[in-house]
């Protein structure tokens, strides 16, 4: 039995080495996507183009504007002379928000400083709410401290809660993105490569010959899967190395725990690819089915949006995706130095997924031949 698995393994490696496109993709997909997303994806919005309607037009308003720009959150790119004009610009999309400083701003500032009961806000932001990230950033400016702008010593008021940030104190998105990308890239390549590899065999008629030889479906699958396990581990190494070198993403946990988690996920993804290969009749169909799995893996797994923020039914779906469990494990290991043991629920689930997937694929595969 081992000899036959080995024969398929060697054959698959040789075919892979002749297929330059696929071979190149194994290395280029993680490299390009890591560079692209590592630099591009940023969840804290900066330099938002905003407009200004300044009815006060005094030194105080200029000081406030200067202080706001100094935060790098907003850039005042346009000046308007009426609220209507500003609203039009919002609709056109040339600015994402507009700050209106009323003519009676000096009085309002005095009221506010005196902590008078009927003190009012000193200005108003009009925000294009279609982008929630930008809205959130502008909302963050609601309690912008005024003291500095008045040349007074900053007298901080004790906040209600103190916040201490563990694991990612600088709040860099890339620290969260790189381990997540591991899951996405593995999902894509592992599922696609295996499903396509088997469907190709059927498409080219190789299967017709193979079923008359003594090779068993299980041996054939195992032999076809193993090369891609190696491929997956290579990709993991590339992503983590580049993440460390280029984006300074730390790997806090042990490498053994990390590769353990990656292996579990690779196996789960490969069996998913096998199941797809028993459904798809052509390589194109295999590709479409892969995308069908890939999109929820990107959007629901916690890669893009926090798992906790999703409604319950979406969470159930997410639980079914191997990527969700891997996302939790890999972020735990890479960022929080979690032991594989403390993530055993996710690890067990991936194992179970692999087992069930193998059985389903074997049964369906045999039926297809029979």
């Amino acid at each position: 039995m081992l000899a036959r698995v080995w024969a398929v393994f060697i054959k698959e490696l040789k075919q892979l080495s002749r297929d330059r496109m696929t071979f190149g993709m194994i290395v280029m997909i993680p490299l390009v996507q890591l560079m692209l997303f590592g630099y591009a994806i940023n969840t804290d919005a900066r330099h938002i183009p905003v407009g200004l309607v300044d009815f006060a037009g005094n030194q105080q308003s200029r000081a406030i504007i200067g202080a706001l720009e100094a935060t790098q959150a907003v850039n005042f790119t346009k000046v308007f002379y009426s609220a209507e004009q500003a609203q039009q610009a919002l609709t056109q999309g040339s600015v994402k928000a507009v700050l209106i400083l009323p003519a009676d701003m000096p009085r309002r500032i005095v009221d506010k400083n005196n902590l008078s009961i009927d003190s009012q806000p000193i200005g108003q932001w009009l925000v294009d709410g279609s982008d929630t990230v930008i809205t959130g950033t502008i909302k963050g400016l609601r309690n912008f401290p005024l003291a500095e702008t008045q040349g007074q010593a900053y007298t901080p008021i004790a906040p209600t809660f103190a916040v201490t940030t563990f694991f990612n104190p600088e709040q860099r998105s890339v620290v969260n993105i790189v381990p997540g990308l591991l899951g996405i890239i593995l999902t894509m390549t592992m599922i696609l490569f295996t499903s396509a590899a088997i469907v190709r065999e059927r498409e080219h008629g190789n299967m017709e010959f193979l079923i008359t030889t003594p090779i068993r479906p299980f041996e054939l699958m195992l032999g076809k899967i193993i090369p891609y396990v190696v491929v997956g581990l290579i990709q993991v190494t590339i992503i983590l190395t580049m993440g460390y070198l280029v984006f300074d993403v730390p790997v806090r946990g042990g490498l053994d725990a990390l590769f353990g988690a990656a292996l579990l996920f690779i196996f789960a993804s490969l069996t998913l690819g096998l199941v797809i290969s028993t459904i798809a009749k052509t390589q194109l169909q295999a590709m479409q089915l892969t995308v069908f799995i890939l999109l929820p893996s990107i959007l629901l797994s916690g890669f893009m949006f926090p798992y906790e923020a999703m409604p319950e039914p979406a969470q159930w779906i997410a639980e079914g995706l191997p990527a969700t469990h891997f996302m939790r494990m890999v972020r735990g290991v890479v960022l929080r130095d979690a032991e594989l043991f403390s993530l055993q629920a996710d690890a067990l689930w991936l194992l179970a997924f692999t087992g069930i997937g193998l059985v389903v694929a074997s049964v369906r595969f045999r039926k297809k031949l029979g």
């Binding site: 075919q15 002749r18 190789n206 017709e208 010959f209 030889t213 003594p214």
Partner: protein, 243 residues
């Protein structure tokens, strides 16, 4: 099959069977030797034995010097020889060939059949499926199948003798019109034009087929000819054919 019940012995039997598919089903992006090596390890040949056997097959099927060529870049005849080499690598007792020479020229086909008769001589039973009657004629035994039901079997000579119709050949002009008239007769099993002759199969229940035909003839001549396997095939399958 091969003296064993099929059920429960599928895997053992596969060791004793060979199968060559109609379409080339080996790996086009592997070389000739890699393909042979792969098949050898699938059948569990030991390294030394595999090497000797592969050398033997390369020689037998004229593939020496092409060991490092990719299978996909070979000609139809070469691919077919490689496929036969792979199908017979483990020296099967029973060899199935599915329309083996559908994609090769006549010369390669003759060569191929030479190899098949060599295998026969060594004691291999070969089962060929084909829809080429000239190819069927080379076989020792024939069975004509229609929708999975056996319509006739025997040696080619036997089949031609026992066929349920007489064959008449009419030569002359205005054959299209004549054909239309003839196929309207229930006794006429089939009528097919071959060049400037019309080949008519008349049921053997009619003792004097020429007489039946004669009344339709205008200026054509008719003669009774030796049946071909195609006639046998047409007479045995699907009732009336008017190709």
């Amino acid at each position: 099959m091969c003296g064993q019940p099929l059920k429960g012995h599928e895997e053992d039997l596969k060791q004793r069977l060979g199968y060559m598919t109609q379409k080339f089903s080996l790996y086009e992006n592997l070389t000739v030797r890699e393909n042979l090596n792969f098949v050898a390890s699938i059948y569990g040949l030991r390294r030394g034995a595999a090497k000797a056997r592969i050398g033997e097959l390369l020689h037998l099927y004229g593939l020496q010097g092409r060991e490092k060529q990719l299978a996909g870049s070979m000609s139809g005849g070469q691919k077919q020889r490689l496929a036969l080499a792979c199908a017979t690598l483990h020296q099967p007792e029973l060899l199935f060939l599915d329309e083996p020479t559908s994609a090769v020229d006549p010369e390669n086909r003759r060569e191929f059949w030479e190899r098949l008769f060599d295998l026969c001589d060594q004691g291999t039973t070969i089962l060929v499926s084909t829809h080429y009657m000239d190819e069927a004629e080379r076989c020792h035994q024939l069975a004509i199948l229609e929708n999975g039901i056996k319509r006739a079997d025997g040696t080619p000579q036997q089949l031609m003798q026992d066929m349920p119709a007489n064959v008449l050949e009419i030569s002359g002009t205005e054959l299209r019109q004549l054909k239309q008239n003839l196929i309207a007769q229930t006794e006429v099993v089939s009528a097919a034009q071959v060049g400037n002759r019309l080949r008519v199969l008349v049921s053997k229940q009619i003792p004097q087929p020429e007489q039946l035909i004669a009344k339709w003839l205008t200026n054509q001549s008719v003669e009774v000819v030796r049946p071909s396997l195609e006639d046998v095939f047409v007479a045995c399958t699907g009732g009336r054919h008017v190709g």
